[in-house]
């Protein structure tokens, strides 16, 4: 199993995955042209490796034996530079009057683009047949290895948007209350358009004045910053990396944005460079514990290593060397996971 940058010839299988994920997974829509465009953007990003402008780094997890793609994930290096980017921010404002004996704190929701220019980790999907052998961890944490290795390509902060609470129809109670009065779209359509990056309607139509949270029904207030139950494991994983909810939520489902300074992310600051040595082939573990990545950009690869690292070295088997495209003596980046 190898994680690598996506290639143009992955389009068919990416499209299969997009169909598999369904409508709820808006960043992977069943839209072949859109997916082809995303692949092209990603190829350009890996090739140019620029520290400025929008750049999408899209990765796939390849099952080399089965010649199949097992999943995908991506990093948007700087959001909001080409299409607008919006969230609500939960703020607080004191509200005091000694004469009325009043000393309260009002919570407000304000439309915000504070994340413009930040990196986003997104589009993570692992196909059901491969939900084993810690492949989810490989998919998710590989991105931190890439960012650690190519630190100059990324900004100071990174975030991830988490799916909020949805009802049994996959629709959002938050949106029904707060969104539909402003947007003449249903939840899925609004969600779909933002997935396609067509977001200027948000700045045009969503409320631009602060909204007092206490005016919302209580059940909605409770849903602010809460994740969908399916999303809890993903949230827990990101929390372990050090990403926290700092008060930003999604406009449509009130799901939390979790974020961190990139240098503080566990997967970045705990990763380190070691020298490759040749090791003997050992039995494959179901609980591998060391992620290892080659240091190239277009040639970036990540696998689970079968040996544990020593202080300054890591032994890789012949097969692993081939998978990563490295030789003994080369430098690789590892992360204990």
């Amino acid at each position: 199993m190898i994680l690598r940058p996506i290639r143009p010839d992955d389009l068919d299988q990416l499209h299969e995955m997009a169909i598999e994920t369904g409508a709820g997974f808006t960043s992977l829509p069943d839209n072949r042209d859109f997916l082809a465009e995303r692949i092209a953007q990603s190829c350009a990003a890996f090739e140019q490796a620029s520290s400025e402008g929008a750049a999408l780094y899209f990765f796939v997890l390849e099952d080399v034996e089965q010649q199949a793609l097992a999943g995908c994930c991506a990093i948007e290096a700087r959001v909001g530079l080409e299409a607008p980017f919006y969230s609500y921010r939960v703020g607080r404002i004191g509200h005091s009057s000694p004469r009325l004996g009043l000393h309260r704190v009002l919570q407000t929701l304000s439309l915000s683009s504070d994340h413009i220019g930040d990196a986003e980790v997104c589009s993570l999907y692992l196909r059901p047949d491969w939900r084993r052998d810690r492949l989810g961890v490989l998919l998710s944490r590989s991105r931190w290895l890439f960012m650690a290795q190519h630190r100059a390509l990324f900004p100071e902060r990174v975030f991830a948007e988490m799916r909020g609470v949805l009802d049994e129809h996959g629709s959002s109670p938050f949106w029904r209350h707060l969104g539909r009065h402003f947007l003449p779209l249903d939840f899925h359509e609004a969600d779909r358009l933002t997935g396609l990056g067509e977001k200027s309607f948000i700045g045009e139509l969503m409320p631009k004045h602060p909204i007092c949270v206490s005016l919302l029904p209580e059940e909605l207030q409770e849903g602010i910053g809460k994740v969908h139950h399916n999303t809890r494991p993903a949230l827990a994983m990101l929390n372990r990396e050090g990403l926290r909810w700092e008060g930003y939520i999604d406009l449509f489902d009130a799901g939390p944005t979790v974020e961190s300074y990139l240098d503080d992310v566990a997967g970045v600051c705990q990763s380190r460079l070691v020298t490759v040595t040749l090791g003997e082939t050992v039995a494959v573990s179901e609980r591998p514990s060391t992620l290892v990545a080659s240091t190239g950009c277009e040639a970036f690869r990540v696998i689970w290593a079968s040996h544990a690292p020593a202080d300054e070295t890591l032994a890789l088997t012949e097969e692993e060397l081939a998978a990563l495209g490295v030789s003994a003596g080369d430098t690789v980046r590892i992360l204990a996971s």
Partner: protein, 345 residues
Amino acid sequence: MSWVVRPAEREDVPGILALAEHASPRLTNLPPDQRRLDQRVQASRRAFDIEQGPDAQACHMLVMADAHTGTLLGTASLRVKAGEGEAYYTYRQEQLIHASHQLDVRVEVPILALTHELSSSSLLCALALSPRLDDTQRLKAQRLLRRARLMMISQWPERFADRLTMALPGVIDDAGHSPFWNSVGKHFFGRDFQDINFQAGLESKSFIAEVMPPYPLYLSLLSDAARESLAHAHRTHHKALSDWYQEGFEDSGHVDILDGGPVLSARPSAVSVIKNGTWLPVTIAHQTTPTHRLLLAGQDLARYRCSMLDVAMSPAGQVVLTPEQASLLGVTAGVAVRAVLEDGL
């Protein structure tokens, strides 16, 4: 039985207190508080006495009494400026336009915007009636108190603003809860409507408005009950609402900040009492056969008297009053009174 409307005097305070205590729903601007009412009556007395025209803080407080027994049957006030030297806050109903060229749509977003633009208008307020009046009498009393105040404006237009404002109590349920308050103010103040309404009467409503969040309120976020109650009068005031419309008032597009009740306004020139009033000289006769029902008021502001009387008209176009009627109005033969023809008789 004749009723007369006249300035409130110090000795009326106990009677006004009783009226305030019986007011339902409670009136923000007529707190049942002896000390405050005392101050108000004194200030009102000064406003009536000042010849040059009162300052902006003046509030003319009137009472309606039985002309024979002197019993207090109602009260109502007329403020020179709604803000009474402070600011008179209301929520203005507005539509924001959100237009999306991406989606090619234009959405009208209704909001309530906190504003004090009605501060400089003159305010008709604080009407309360005695519980001993029956339903027919209440309507008659409301009419007299309403028109007696408009009559004042028609006689001393220079004292008042060129916009008149009046607010009617908003919807309140039987338990005294205001759906509008529960959906808006309660979240900011954490108190019940009656508490804050009482406090607003003691302190000043402007003061309360000034600690409310200044952002526009998106109407769609209010509770259904609050939205439905918006700009609706309390059920005991539905007739009053249509009467004010008939008088020439119209919906101002504003609502009360506490209970969401309707705020009406009018230009004086559109108000029927003011448009249709005329000056008539008085003659006095002991025996008359009334032919007209007139709303009548004398020219002496400090001793303002206004009453609805059945009178005769002389061939020369004078109004023929009995000595009792003349005395009730405080007028003598030869002087002019302001008169508006009433229906009926």
